[in-house]
Symmetry: C2
Subunit: 420 residues, 2 copies
Amino acid sequence: MVPGSPSARGDAAADAAATDPIHLGWMQGTPPPPERMIAFADGSFMRFPRTRWSFSHWRELVPTIEVARGNGPVTVLARSERSEIDALEFTPLGGSARMSWQESLAANYTDAIVVLHRSRIVYERYFGAGGPEQPHIAFSVTKSFAGLLATALMLEGALEPAQRIAHYVPELGGSGFADATLAQVLDMTTALAYDEQYEVQTSRFHDFARATGMEPRAGEAGARSGCEYLAGLAGAGEHGNAFVYRSVNTDVLAWVMARVTGLPFHVLLRERIWSRLGMEADAYLQVDSAGTPLAYGTLNARARDLARFGQMILEEGACQGRQIVPAAAIREIRRGGDRTLFAGAGYATLAGWSYHNQWWIAHDAHGAFMARGIHGQALYLDPTAQMVIARFASHPRAPNVQLDPTSLPAYRSLAAHLAA
Amino acid sequence: MVPGSPSARGDAAADAAATDPIHLGWMQGTPPPPERMIAFADGSFMRFPRTRWSFSHWRELVPTIEVARGNGPVTVLARSERSEIDALEFTPLGGSARMSWQESLAANYTDAIVVLHRSRIVYERYFGAGGPEQPHIAFSVTKSFAGLLATALMLEGALEPAQRIAHYVPELGGSGFADATLAQVLDMTTALAYDEQYEVQTSRFHDFARATGMEPRAGEAGARSGCEYLAGLAGAGEHGNAFVYRSVNTDVLAWVMARVTGLPFHVLLRERIWSRLGMEADAYLQVDSAGTPLAYGTLNARARDLARFGQMILEEGACQGRQIVPAAAIREIRRGGDRTLFAGAGYATLAGWSYHNQWWIAHDAHGAFMARGIHGQALYLDPTAQMVIARFASHPRAPNVQLDPTSLPAYRSLAAHLAA
């Protein structure tokens, strides 16, 4: 039994094969039969195993805004398939029985996975509702795009890490963010009257999700937009003393960037990243009722395009010889954050890691670092092995500590194999 | 004073320049100021002059589904700009003062217009929120795509014009559609307890719009999806005796096609049309709460791509030498419908026209025919002049009889000019 697997929790979540959304026929037929319907309004779109369909069909559920790829040529990803990867074995964290790479994909309810080695595709698989041309929600992987943009803006002098948030966004002057620094927002060391527990319905996270339209609102209560929610969010203690992962920080960051540049998040993302990497397809973001794109977790894209983004990061900001973001921005991110503060958050699977500028830094021998999103979204970068892993998943559990035991050692094992 | 212009109605709708949505700053800023907000939930997105923004930003307001262009090359539209067109003059219907082509664009609150002559772009302009890469809602122009698909399926024998609707969709067996024939649905001669008056809030049309998510639902009353609404819609009299324009027919048609082919409307549209014309961009359709794409009026596309579609129709179904739909389908559409029944509907601006298979047929000397959508959406095809006009607009009035006086004679005048 694998730690973190549904069976380890003692619940009855069926496995990946039994919950294949195509096999189950979700949303098939005109109209779909009632027992195969998935809707936003009743919240069913976020209930496993319906999520195995929803995560690949986000725009069919909510309003969205395009992040255009532009009109340039597609960056061709050369291909050197490594068929031995499926049989590669590793030992899951906290376990003893060996598991194969292929088994790990099912254990994590993988929808799409693309592995680049030395910029070539060595492995690419799709399951469930996933497919090479099917965009998938990246959840908080989105945050790392925002963090990269902010890091670049700091290097340009447009943003100051030590500056207070209320300086940039006066509307936040009455909120708990007012006296937090930009650096504290970026590293999630703000102190706020807000907790983020995805699987606890009374968690404040769900108030934020309802305000932003990520979950249906119940009646007229509560904030009606992300900005309204953020402006009304109280502080709780002194900033800078603890790393606490809170999605609200990212939308404050996007608000700051929009105010300073005059460009909303989707435009910044398009102009500075998405239109400059030879992406295959337009991406998109969900917008809230005020039309504000949600930076904390609503980028939807193809796995190969996420891998293209990862490859640019791995190459210190360059794509096919052209500098897209400054190399110094990638170096700043990789420097990492405060490891002692991070340790205090108690992520069992991430001992020795840190969080910096909206990225997760392993501080391991390979210099690995990640973008991570709930339910198994991952962009894993290993500079030593010159490896990029872009993975989309629809795991029944939200917290990635549930997936790390069968993911991180698989990634490390593959890196060692490719680097050998 | 131009017939059909806002001033002719005696109301205070401001003109195109005064309602330029970019100048007015709708939805600009993070967040937009309250007086510049446009939202779906409060219905403000459909109130002029906010519509001048909404019609170019539909996906930011509602759930949508992609109609992919595929991976093939873009069909290049050669360009031979005709600068004299702006000064071309015509006499508006029912008027006496001459008007220039350029003036007619403002009179109709044009957002985008592309004119092809002999397959080359001779004129292309964008105003307001329009732009070459900005998709715009086509409203009922969408119906003509559905009608073309159905015409092709009839030629293939997959659909029978004389067959009863309940034969194809048993769920409609208790509705007013049950004993209507497919041909009656296509030509909108069904008799139903349903009226379609866009500007009358008590019109049944708005019940259908609420059921399908084109307008916000008020509380829990009413059908929750297009299919549910259609299945509960009663008949009113005998089918076949009158032409009455009713959008519900088109979604019944899409339902029939989905049932017979096993493919929902967006897939049929993609596989048979959108992916085969070298479109520049993906299009999209709104979906209702059951995930069903709305065939009656939610295609969003670039004006140039609508023109590419028009050119294929003009070439009797061929695109760059490749037959996309059978020429016989175009000939069947151009044959037109019952002109006596059409005359009974009393369209003042469309004397002598007919409606057939979801297209509007002029029966004029040039053999002109059209796809038409509320607020000024138009695809005007003149086979004699070898002219295609694709126009998007955001006119304050919904009914196209308000725009025809300054549109149809402009089109005819341009056709005569180009054919000379």
